[in-house]
């Protein structure tokens, strides 16, 4: 089965649950995307930007000291942290900004959690001379101050969102409200494989470059495909990006969600592990929700994973059993972050540290295996959070 179908469904998940006002814009976007997806000039231009501006292909690095420490045969890190702006998010924003330009849209808006997507959107807007406004939860503005300043430097306006949990979920609501109001001249760059069709498809298409490169690189370096691929899952764009080109191959994939203070505590961001299907932000997918169908607030130390929903394709892959989804706590992620700093001299983002922590947690069964991990972003943005934890004398 080819997913998504023409209505944007990955099996039972996906679709377009948005106000009627946006249907025309989504149709327009679908049409433009389907055209430029096969347009050689567009693809050449995108490749040019990704190569000479973003620094692609990003390195694939064999982490020998980390592997030795964990007693795992081979570990490879796909270094998305080395992409311009410090995370995989730029792959998506460059593609969507080019698309917006072709569609004649003068203004870009985006939601952001950790600020990486906001920075990547602000970067593309600055580069192409487009107006840019970024919605960000007040709580995330506090814990990701550096990225707020970066967006400001890049000429974007950061709009604090004070409703609800004051995190990514509420920033997304506000961005959708803006888009409903300004749909004529504005393109909304969604930062993950979430939202109404065609967004989960567009973002997947733009992030597949991660897996395509990694596959060629690992074949060249080790002469074989990996046995396992690990990635962290919030909305799930870096995970889909690395998983998708390997879906037909004979290997196992593991998506790592944020268990926050622990699944049993209720304070987590693990809808695939313990959520139920429902509709949020335009698509049907696994969700954290109450008995009455209200969306629950998520929790994670990582602002980029602090989201109660997940992309519909992950829900599909979960139900198919093609990808295994597990979760690790804040503490496990912090320990993994420190481990990578000390063994390999790489400071990973708190989000990416969840993928590492997933490998640490499963080290026993990975002993004889070759493991590929998507290191989706760098951790500079998180040092203030880490320092604050040290001050509290913990962790």
């Amino acid at each position: 089965m080819i997913v998504p179908n023409e209505r944007g469904y990955f099996g039972d998940y996906g679709g377009r649950f948005v106000p009627e006002t946006l249907i025309g814009a989504l149709d327009e976007l679908t049409k433009a995307f389907e055209f430029y997806r096969h347009d050689q000039a567009f693809q050449d231009e995108l490749k040019e930007w990704l190569t000479n501006y973003c620094g692609r292909p990003t390195a694939l690095y064999r982490a020998k000291r980390l592997a030795l420490e964990l007693g795992i045969k081979e570990i490879y890190l796909k270094r998305e942290d080395l992409a311009h702006t410090g995370a995989h998010k730029i792959n998506n924003t460059m593609g969507q900004a080019l698309l917006a330009r072709r569609m004649g849209k003068k203004r870009l808006i985006a939601e952001t959690g950790a600020g990486q997507h906001g920075v990547a959107t602000a970067t593309a807007a600055a580069l192409f001379g487009l107006e840019c406004e970024i919605y960000m939860g007040e709580k995330d503005i506090e814990r990701q101050a550096m990225n707020v300043y970066r967006m400001d430097l890049l000429g974007a306006k950061v709009i604090p969102v004070t409703s609800g949990s004051r995190t990514l979920k509420d920033a997304t609501n506000e961005a959708i409200r803006d888009w409903v109001t300004n749909v004529g001249h504005t393109h909304y760059i969604i930062g993950s494989v979430v939202g109404p069709h065609p967004y989960p498809l567009i973002v997947r298409d733009l992030q597949r470059v991660i897996g395509i490169e990694a596959k060629a690189q690992i074949l060249e370096q080790s002469g074989a495909l990996p046995d396992y691929v690990f990635a962290c899952v919030g909305g799930g764009s870096n995970a889909i990006g690395i998983f998708h080109p390997f879906l037909e191959d004979d290997l196992k994939m593991v998506g790592v969600e944020a268990a926050g203070s622990g699944l049993e505590s209720g304070a987590h961001s693990a809808p695939l592990c313990v959520g139920e299907p429902g509709v949020l932000h335009g698509s049907l997918s696994y969700l954290l929700q109450t008995e009455d169908g209200q969306i629950k607030e998520a929790h994670s130390i990582s602002a980029g994973l602090d989201y109660p929903g997940v992309g519909p394709e992950h829900s599909y892959l979960r139900d198919q059993g093609r990808v295994e989804y597990i979760s690790v706590t804040d503490d496990q992620a912090l320990a993994a972050l420190r481990l990578l700093c000390r063994t390999e001299g790489i400071i990973p983002a708190l989000e990416s540290a969840h993928a590492l922590a997933g490998v640490v947690a499963q080290a026993e069964r990975l002993k004889e295996q070759c493991v590929l991990i998507n290191l989706s972003g760098r951790g500079d943005k998180d040092v203030a959070t880490l320092a604050a934890l040290e001050d509290k004398g913990g962790k």
Partner: protein
């Protein structure tokens, strides 16, 4: 659903326009909602739209967002709202429609929801995040029992509008502005023409215009080109200030009466 049909038929023979009033159920609490509905009906509302509070109301502006939050903090749930409708039904035959985001319905179970809503006396559902393509199952389950009231927007092309009308029941909810709910000082200047165009396509399905309408003057202007007007945020603001106190009910009633008079002058 029958109540909706009869109301529009009666108003048409009288040559009058329908006044549809929105309040958020459970704001300030569900007992108050019963009283507030009575106030609205006594003041001249023809159809009552009860908002089901949702944690993430992405088609709503600040006024209704805040009302949703107040209602949720008081423990309002869809189940309790349906029970409240049952109570209201013992007092009035006014058509009642629920305006709700899709997830609470989906989570309730569509089949169960239709059964319970019909039994309680709900006449229709307005689901702002459920466009034509996604509403098929709900429409199939609700058929002839519960009106699934469709929405159309200024961005809806005519060909699509015709499909929306064909699938719609109860009335057509035309969103007057490209945007979210909330009072506005001015409405789009091309609105009258848009409504005339939509009215032609809507045919037998009554045309109701909502979003941004708050003053008697706006009611009159818009009412001249539609079968009904919908007022929400302007009423919710009164409840936000006064709750369901006697003073609040007085002010709410006065506001609805003013809108009623304006509409009857069309």
């Amino acid at each position: 659903m029958q109540r909706l049909r009869e109301t529009f038929a009666k108003l048409e023979t009288q040559g009058r326009k329908a006044l549809i009033t929105f309040i958020t159920a459970g704001d300030p609490d569900l007992d108050a909602t019963c009283d507030l509905v009575e106030t609205l009906v006594e003041a001249g509302a023809d159809i009552i739209e009860l908002g089901v509070p949702f944690s993430d109301p992405l088609a709503d502006g600040p006024t209704i967002q805040a009302a949703s939050l107040r209602a949720l903090e008081r423990g309002t749930t869809l189940k309790k709202i349906i029970a409240t409708v049952k109570k209201i039904r013992s007092r009035t035959e006014v058509p009642l429609v629920l305006m709700t985001y899709y997830n609470p319905l989906y989570h309730y179970g569509l089949k169960e929801l239709v059964k319970d809503a019909v039994a309680a006396g709900v006449d229709g559902l307005i689901v702002p995040d459920l466009p034509l393509e996604e509403s098929e199952e709900l429409r199939r389950l609700a058929v002839d029992k519960l009106a699934v009231i469709p929405l159309a927007a200024p961005t809806t092309p005519d060909t699509r509008l015709a499909k929306i009308v064909a699938a719609g029941r109860g009335f057509l909810y035309y969103v007057t502005v490209t945007g979210i709910t909330g009072t506005r000082t001015s409405l789009p200047k091309e609105l009258s023409q848009s409504l005339d165009r939509v009215k032609k396509i809507a045919g037998e399905l009554p045309l109701a215009a909502g979003f941004g309408i708050s003053t008697p003057e706006q009611a009159r202007t818009v009412g001249a080109h539609a079968d009904a007007i919908i007022v929400g945020s302007a009423l919710v603001e009164i409840i936000a200030q006064h709750g369901a106190s006697a003073a609040g009910r007085q002010e709410l009633g006065d506001k609805v009466k003013a809108l009623r008079r304006a509409l009857d002058a069309v």
